[in-house]
Symmetry: C2
């Protein structure tokens, strides 16, 4: 399913070139990635700045994975088609963008995209990180690390996490949208405590549905706190959307880390595959 406000695939209009950029943002003051009337969004801010710099009407930006309100990014990827004769080159483009963008938004890399690149449809997978402090609350990092007031057992969460790996219908962890598939493949889920005692949930999947990472972390937290057995998550996952919602961990602890793309010569093939699978069986 392709949303109507996004450009369809790889077609770059005549006289335009496609740029590929990486963007970091502090999600606190954004109502998420996607444009919404009367709300500040990452897409809205970026499109406005590009239009201003390129002296054009709206230029539509496509990202690899739309983030929810409050979610941060250090590795979100986007593409945008800009008039070729107005592109000032990589270094100037970076400088000009970051001089205008607000302090909670920064383009960390930008360049002409390889042929056939589409930020969304070329992506093989997306990686997110969720951070929890289960010790005494830390005021300094409270906007990026969720202060959870209960000691968590990491080993129990690691055990439970194994049930989530692989291809499943994650509808139990997704806010439902009509017609949208909730089948996803969790390719990696690393849960560990770092040297500062902060618990990391590093998760990679082909794609995520709305609130999926936060609902997964919320379920794991219930297990880590001893309120449920690790094996409960298997039953919960199998129950699908019919079972009552779990605790959804707050957005502030979540950061979009990176997007994995195939090598440049595989980009076009990947797009066809993604579009086929999203229109069809998953």
């Amino acid at each position: 399913m392709v949303l109507m406000d996004e450009p369809l695939g790889t077609d770059v209009p005549q006289g335009f070139i496609r740029l590929r950029g990486t963007i970091a943002y502090d999600g606190e003051k954004f109502a998420g990635w996607g444009m919404q009337p009367e709300r500040r969004t990452v897409q809205g801010d970026l499109e406005e700045v590009f239009a201003r710099l390129m002296r054009t009407d709206r230029l539509v930006i496509t990202c690899a994975g739309r983030t929810d309100a409050g979610v941060h990014s250090v590795g979100q990827v986007f593409h945008i088609d800009v008039p070729e004769d107005r592109y000032p080159g990589r270094k100037d483009m970076m400088f000009k963008l970051n001089a205008i963008l607000s302090e909670d938004l920064a383009v960390t890399d930008i360049d002409v995209a390889p042929d056939g690149f589409d930020a969304r449809f070329s992506a093989l997978s997306r990686s997110y990180r969720y951070l929890i402090n289960d010790g005494v609350r830390n005021p300094v990092t409270r906007r990026q690390i969720y202060n959870y007031g209960w000691a968590l057992d990491v080993a129990l969460m690691v055990e439970a996490g194994k049930y989530l790996l692989g291809l499943h219908d994650f509808s139990a962890f997704c806010k439902q949208k009509e017609f949208a598939t909730t089948i996803r493949e969790v390719q990696q889920l690393d849960i560990y405590r770092d040297d500062d005692g902060v618990i990391h949930f590093d998760i990679t999947a082909d794609a995520f549905c709305y609130s999926m990472v936060r609902a997964i972390v919320g379920a794991l937290v219930d297990i880590g706190a001893g309120r449920r057995e690790p094996s409960w998550i298997e039953t919960y996952l199998a129950g699908g959307a019919k079972v009552p919602a779990v605790f959804v961990a707050p957005a502030l602890g979540l950061t979009f880390m990176k997007v994995n793309y195939p090598s440049d010569d595989q980009l076009a093939a990947r797009i066809l595959e993604t579009k086929h699978s999203r229109d069809g069986s998953r």
Copy 2:
């Protein structure tokens, strides 16, 4: 020199017990540690909460090292004398304090202080950390890591840092206060780039004067950016307060890390030594 609003040394009033606490804060919304009329300060918030919990008039809090406006803490130490019969014990005290304190302030440890303990006068040294990102600005960590828009050469800063080690008159790096000594001993200064590319300035001294860490980091940054030779800092240091002020790095990048105290049986001796040296030759 003893400031008049602080209790003098180790005397705990009859019927009171002295508590030793550690406090973490996000400095952004505080006008620093010390009480100021009409401004929000860490001391003001803490004293208010203690008075409320202890159902008393003002209880005066003494910290190990007053922090400037905007400076964070993970390891600031304080002492406070509270009515013995109203002290609810360590665990309850922690819980009650943190339930009332604002989200940008947390007591991370509290207990009855060892005999003769004084948060300020017992301290052997204080440790601070300053963090700089000299790559593309990072919006997510911008409140704790100073985004400096120029690549810095760490090796040059390490070289310059060596001139600062040891006992010196740091008046070139201090905002002048009448009658206050500016002779300090920098015991440790580690400058390095971590795995994420963030530059750390870890500095320990017997004590610091107002804005000293930030002025030192500012001077080192000028050297790291290639605007001055490493050896310039020696001349600058020797010049004292008469030379023009250097760049003072912004407060947001600075965090009070910890206080080093002698073992419990050396506390009383340490207080006498500190008071003597501050009243007298340094």
